[in-house]
Symmetry: C3
Subunit: 552 residues, 3 copies
Amino acid sequence: MKSLLGWILTTFVASLIGFGLINTALAVEHDFEKIKKNYYDTHPGKGSHGKFWEPIPIQKYWNPKDFYSPPQTIKGEFTQADCVGCHQTTTPGAFHAWKSSTHSDLEAIRKLPDSDARAYKKQKISEVENNLRKLNLLKKGESLKQVGCIDCHGGVGVTKLDHAKALVMPDRVSCGTCHLNEFAEAESEKEQEWPQKQWAKGHPSHAVDWEANVETATWAAMPEREVAQGCDSCHYQQNKCDGCHTRHTFSAAEARQPEACATCHNGVDHNEFENYMLSKHGTQYLTMGKTKWNFEVPLKDHVNKGGYTAPTCQTCHFEFKGEYSHNLVRKVRWGFNPTPEIANNLSHPWFEDRKKAWVQTCTLCHSESFAKAYLDTADKGTIQGLNVEQSAKKVVNKLYEDGLLVGQKTNRPAPPAPEKDAAGGFFQLFWAKGNNPSRIERLYADMWEHDVIKHYKGIFHVNPGGYTYSEGWSELMRGYAEIMDEDTRLREADAAKTGKKATVSDASQLYNESILGGGGLLLMIAGTLVGFPVFRSSLLSFRSKRSKLSGK
Amino acid sequence: MKSLLGWILTTFVASLIGFGLINTALAVEHDFEKIKKNYYDTHPGKGSHGKFWEPIPIQKYWNPKDFYSPPQTIKGEFTQADCVGCHQTTTPGAFHAWKSSTHSDLEAIRKLPDSDARAYKKQKISEVENNLRKLNLLKKGESLKQVGCIDCHGGVGVTKLDHAKALVMPDRVSCGTCHLNEFAEAESEKEQEWPQKQWAKGHPSHAVDWEANVETATWAAMPEREVAQGCDSCHYQQNKCDGCHTRHTFSAAEARQPEACATCHNGVDHNEFENYMLSKHGTQYLTMGKTKWNFEVPLKDHVNKGGYTAPTCQTCHFEFKGEYSHNLVRKVRWGFNPTPEIANNLSHPWFEDRKKAWVQTCTLCHSESFAKAYLDTADKGTIQGLNVEQSAKKVVNKLYEDGLLVGQKTNRPAPPAPEKDAAGGFFQLFWAKGNNPSRIERLYADMWEHDVIKHYKGIFHVNPGGYTYSEGWSELMRGYAEIMDEDTRLREADAAKTGKKATVSDASQLYNESILGGGGLLLMIAGTLVGFPVFRSSLLSFRSKRSKLSGK
Amino acid sequence: MKSLLGWILTTFVASLIGFGLINTALAVEHDFEKIKKNYYDTHPGKGSHGKFWEPIPIQKYWNPKDFYSPPQTIKGEFTQADCVGCHQTTTPGAFHAWKSSTHSDLEAIRKLPDSDARAYKKQKISEVENNLRKLNLLKKGESLKQVGCIDCHGGVGVTKLDHAKALVMPDRVSCGTCHLNEFAEAESEKEQEWPQKQWAKGHPSHAVDWEANVETATWAAMPEREVAQGCDSCHYQQNKCDGCHTRHTFSAAEARQPEACATCHNGVDHNEFENYMLSKHGTQYLTMGKTKWNFEVPLKDHVNKGGYTAPTCQTCHFEFKGEYSHNLVRKVRWGFNPTPEIANNLSHPWFEDRKKAWVQTCTLCHSESFAKAYLDTADKGTIQGLNVEQSAKKVVNKLYEDGLLVGQKTNRPAPPAPEKDAAGGFFQLFWAKGNNPSRIERLYADMWEHDVIKHYKGIFHVNPGGYTYSEGWSELMRGYAEIMDEDTRLREADAAKTGKKATVSDASQLYNESILGGGGLLLMIAGTLVGFPVFRSSLLSFRSKRSKLSGK
């Protein structure tokens, strides 16, 4: 009886987790071996474009699983004491960071009074010890004294390490051996499924960000490997945990601060950091948070114990229905970038439910009516920006179809394999030769990959300048005006040459009509169905970035 | 006799206040009812373009006076205890922010030792209590215990609130009921008058920033209301006080830090925040201020008690002749953007006096000779940038006059009403269709609305890169070169078509000659007088932004 | 015997210093008078372009040696007590800053317990006292009580100052009188010699940054002196020490923080600050450093006593082989900007040795293998960017040679003397008239002066977006695509006019072939030898910036 009930409960809970409906921080018993197996099974290694590129030396640090082997310069077997003895001189900064960390002295944590903000770590240590006991890495009754160099670079509980043979650079599994809940939470991002397959399963998320990179044709095609690997230096969260918890401090308090996200989440196509910092939320953090909020408290206590008077990246994106976890995609709606495939489906329950979850997040401080009003504003404003981008796309594709791009017939080399040519393709931001891309294509590539994304992220992060005039809308207007200007010139020049009358590009007519429902959507579908070749090739270029990922 | 003297004194003081000559923080008795009446009388509501747009839901929070009504989801009458009872669960972040604020526990302030930096607030509480007693909102002998939810969302001293009927979102008057001095100071910005009517009375200032927005034709014309409202999310200081004193903390210490200004004062046409932060002043704040300066002390004590070793936004812009107040425009000279109408009148006593007031500000730290030298440099450098922008303007206007803009005769739709077409108009930053704007116009729009403003703000905020190469001058040079390049191409193409000889645009000849005095000014005046239609229409486009405001 | 040994040792040590092999912080006895003489002897004053410009008033503060004279408004002789008596009222901010500084109360330092992070300053005071005794500025047995206004603005130990006659603005020598080691270290930057004369002796460095400015033809040629002087407001480190140690605090703790470098090291052609802040190093500083690291400890103790868990600008750039000094150029390799002359010589021992020194720097925290792998990546990635820029250069130069630039034959005024015309020259970022520069030239000028520099600095400061998509590579791709597009249009238009067939620019063929070794290099050398006139003139334009400096 008891076991049947247990089975029912477990299945129910597991399915809830599968659907992302409950937080994995609940007292769910995670199976380390199973998660570990799935982690390695789903890791793409070099991916399907692997034959087109070879790793450069630095990449062994971003993906140690596939590329790392120990240096042959240091021979011999070493204990933890040896590690410390040598590295406190050879790499004192790394040693010191560890020495000042929680890892170096668990006893100090155990002695913390309950009033200390870090006291919750006592429970965390017990949790870790339980995990290790189950894996026979810690004996019953034994307690963990320290997490030393050798535990991560050799294996938990290892006492001697052959430096030239057995040294490892830790991956998610290494950290997950102790931090099982966090590992399970983070891996659960892979369960995400988009209702209309806007993205492949699990995408976009930290859990598959390495895959996202190696499956991007442009990245594999780039001859300049040292530039290409620059993308890895953010796209390695799938491989390691120190993107947020910097080695060798591995601080939770660090990872709770907005700047922890800044290295990767800034710039032309994901300027979340700038938007947050310039929002009222960010200025609260900068004026009040820096000196008065306590980042040592767990996220769930940020208001009542931490004294936060505004959200951070973490308090919104780790939260889902009041629970906090390392699965950051449970409220994802527009994802990385706005597309018609998302815009046209926002009334689907999948999107509606997630919007409700966002309303709940905002009501931590704001009224429901405020939260709904703002989220509606942000959805509509995003679609307005998307309309502009889509209108420009038609103009560029029509020029390509008509063979009127500058140099299109005289000097347009194809991009290197596995990338394929397309008007305004993603590759045109990273590769150029002859007249590929032509000016107008690069203008469009910036619109779809930069401006409309900034527009969307500006409005959702409540940064006024981010979607009105400094970035976003006003830049989309510039792109549109430039593209229309080019279109007119190219068509007038062609007309002068051929003696025909230049025509205003029909493609521009869509602008200012909604792509949602109505004629806009029909036109778009029609364009696809009748086999608009350029339109398709451009879509392809977008798909090529995530071909394996979107299943298209 | 006594009353006559009183009358004389009052009149004298009032006139001084009217002319912005003395600080309202002096022991002037402000008349709340009169200021309140004037506040509502001068508020434009939807403004003169009101028929062209309807508010969207989120706007009720930016302008509650005109658009807010309570939600009908919560029925019943509630006390302050009820507010807290419910909202500490439904919106705990808001509750906590208030709970940690001065408002929630005035007794705690009263108990502060005089040595505490916040001790000045004891005096502030007495001041507030006096104001309330005069308004019969507090009985004689009674003292204020707390400023609770209900005092702001219902009315000071209200004990029961009908949530569905009487709930209000506070406006300037709500805050001003207690904080009368601050209200009076802030409202006194409306008294500002420009000697040559460069701006309408009161403009530009926080006190009329909502008016500035709704009277901008482009804003009213934009079909994308969700993008347009982005402007409101800064342009609401006329309506509310929480732009600087964020709800529900309402912290003075927060509002004294530079980041408090950042959400609104950053970006393409008012990058004051970036300029400050990168200036020596800003780096002092970032290195020394963040941890060592005490933002709890009132601005007037920032040097001797607060330990500031550099100015903040607030210490310069709230100050006038040694006094600090919420009237920030008493030293305004170039205002929002440099124009010939200002450049040509800097020797007028109005401008000279304000320059002297700036010298006094700078001498808090710098010698008078340093201050004068720098301010002269900044004036001259600003005019140099203005010269470039004005030269470019003539080139663009001439092309428009000659009908040579790309698509001008074939595909130039007019902007939506109430906006009107013009070459290089303000609207071209926010609206585009067909070949309106053409590329060269957008280039010029960026010059006058972005680059010359950044140039001016960079030099005045002492950010070297802000006016030399990263922004400002070098960008003006780019704009000018691009415009001249376009001009030559368009005229050569026209010449090829018509068989006439292409001419170098005369309009460019002005460049590098001062617009101050001499030929430049005469040409400019002549251009206006003889009815240069394009020139006027472009001026008009600028005027359209602030048509009601400048009285032109 | 003893003196012979002494001579040998001194010579040896001196030669080591000369070669930058040992740190001048060692117990080397610096000769103040000799360093002072050399300082003044090597100072260029107005420089070789001096006849083309006159200083404006504010410049007397950037270069007091050549331009400052005391104000005549204050007459009389004053003591230190008089200074304080007057200036605590007239410039209270300056007074307060000094009053809170180490300078104002040396006794307070002497009383610090050895456990205090600032205790090292006791030794510093002794050092200063020894220096002063040798110069007969302090009597034997006498101790320094305070460094007052008069010591710096009149001379160490001066008791009375004639304000209208003898007041000075301190220069490097003034500070160096006490701080001899730091003066000697800073001045030793002038010893730097590039093995293939890529830069003139001492360049680029703080020690000659004023010279770099006044010897730049464009700067001297600019008619807009108020804009031109903006460059001085950073290029004055050769003249004064308060660029980093802001007057009147002169704080070492301030100067050890990254923001101390921000005013000068940000923006389009030296965005080190942005790169650092967005790197993992910078985010560690922002999350952990701001509140937990102790900036009062000397740089050498930053890890063990200061608790730094990541480097700052200072910990890397002041360091050389484990020693810290004010000579920041001992590890310079690529210097201000990447050039073929550097790229082609990286295997020279001079460059190799410096790379080894960098590896040593990185191993403070990272393994040697990591450090080498990353530095190799950065070198290669930089060269990849340089290839793109060099390819674009050939296209632009060929157009100039062929006379095909827009307006080249009809409206191309020469820049003002002493600047000379050249395609894509440095001057085109700061000066424009008619069709000089044409659009394509400005595009190229941005590539070589902005984009490739950002690319290089992004990759070396480990800011992923800085060299992949937000800045650097993707911007170089844009520049290249725009230039190729222009090239095709200009050549097609010419072909249409002349009836000849338009040819694809041969110049673009270089792209994607390494400039290192092989055909690329040979072509480049050939181009120079056979007297490619445009190529030379463009090189000249680059040289003109530093004509006196590079010896070319």
